[in-house]
């Protein structure tokens, strides 16, 4: 059986795009919206300190918590990104595996 390597490569790329596309949306939603919220709240925080609604000590504590929260959001986004890469690689390998199963009868027993 002849293997059309161009078609296989195109199918592998399509599998990668499908997987990455789903995950990229999750990452964009998480990072875009939440980082904007953090920035808005920090602007409000400076106003509240200026107005005397919050003390400098309170603001320092809030900013420590905010910094850890921002870092966690970024870490989670990075984790989802790595997961997307893992799924994309395995999807591409899956395409190749199916091609080999079709091309070499009997090979399924060792895959």
């Amino acid at each position: 059986m002849e293997i059309d390597f161009k078609a296989v490569a195109a199918d592998m790329l399509k599998a990668i795009k499908n997987v990455v596309g789903d995950n990229i949306k999750d990452i964009e939603d998480m990072v875009d919206d939440e980082l904007e919220d953090f920035a808005k709240r920090t602007a409000i925080l400076t106003q509240k300190v200026a107005n005397g609604d919050l003390s400098v000590e309170q603001a320092k504590s809030i900013l420590k918590i905010r910094k850890n929260a921002v870092e966690t959001v970024i870490l989670s986004a990075a984790g989802i990104g790595i997961l997307a890469a893992e799924e994309a690689i395995n999807a591409a390998i899956g395409v190749l595996k199916n091609v080999i199963l079709d091309a070499i009868p009997g090979v399924s027993s060792i895959l």
Binding site: I44, K48, I62, I65, N68, A69, V73, L75, I93
Partner: protein, 147 residues
């Protein structure tokens, strides 16, 4: 002695073996979904937000709620120990450490009488988004495990 000639099919055998080996592997770049971490973080998320919502009306004395901080810190310390033992779980371990640091900071602020309605209004969404991000990551891992 006559050496038999290598046919084109025999030449292809190493190539086929390499490809066969490659496609039989599953690439793992990150630790898999952990149901215990997901469940415990979900519980902590709810307890923390319910407490903050209640405290924004009237902040309790630290001694009356010290138990909440103790339990939360112990839960996170156990989860950190659990994930530290799993290969490729550095991101989850680091995230849990950041949550633990925030529970400790909140405790410290409470002990220093810094916690009031304005303080809670500021940290409530931070802590909500922090724990929510970890849960979203766990949900992505769960979805990947199910596919």
């Amino acid at each position: 002695m006559k050496i038999p000639s290598i046919t084109k099919y025999q030449k292809a055998i190493p190539f086929i073996l390499i490809i066969t080996f490659l496609v039989s592997c599953k690439v793992t770049l990150i630790a898999p979904y952990d149901e215990i971490v997901d469940k415990k973080i979900s519980e902590l998320h709810e307890t923390l937000l319910v407490n903050l919502k209640t405290w924004s009306n009237k902040v309790p004395d630290y001694d009356d709620v010290a138990d909440f901080y103790d339990k939360s810190e112990v839960t996170l310390e156990i989860l950190i120990e659990r994930t530290k033992g799993v290969p490729k779980s550095e991101i989850m371990t680091a995230s849990l450490n950041k949550i633990l640091a925030n529970i400790k900071e909140l405790r410290s602020a409470h002990q220093s009488n810094l916690v009031d309605k304005n303080y809670i209004d500021q940290v409530y969404p931070d802590l909500n988004e922090q724990l929510g991000a970890v849960q979203r990551f766990q949900m992505a891992l769960k979805r990947a495990a199910e596919n």
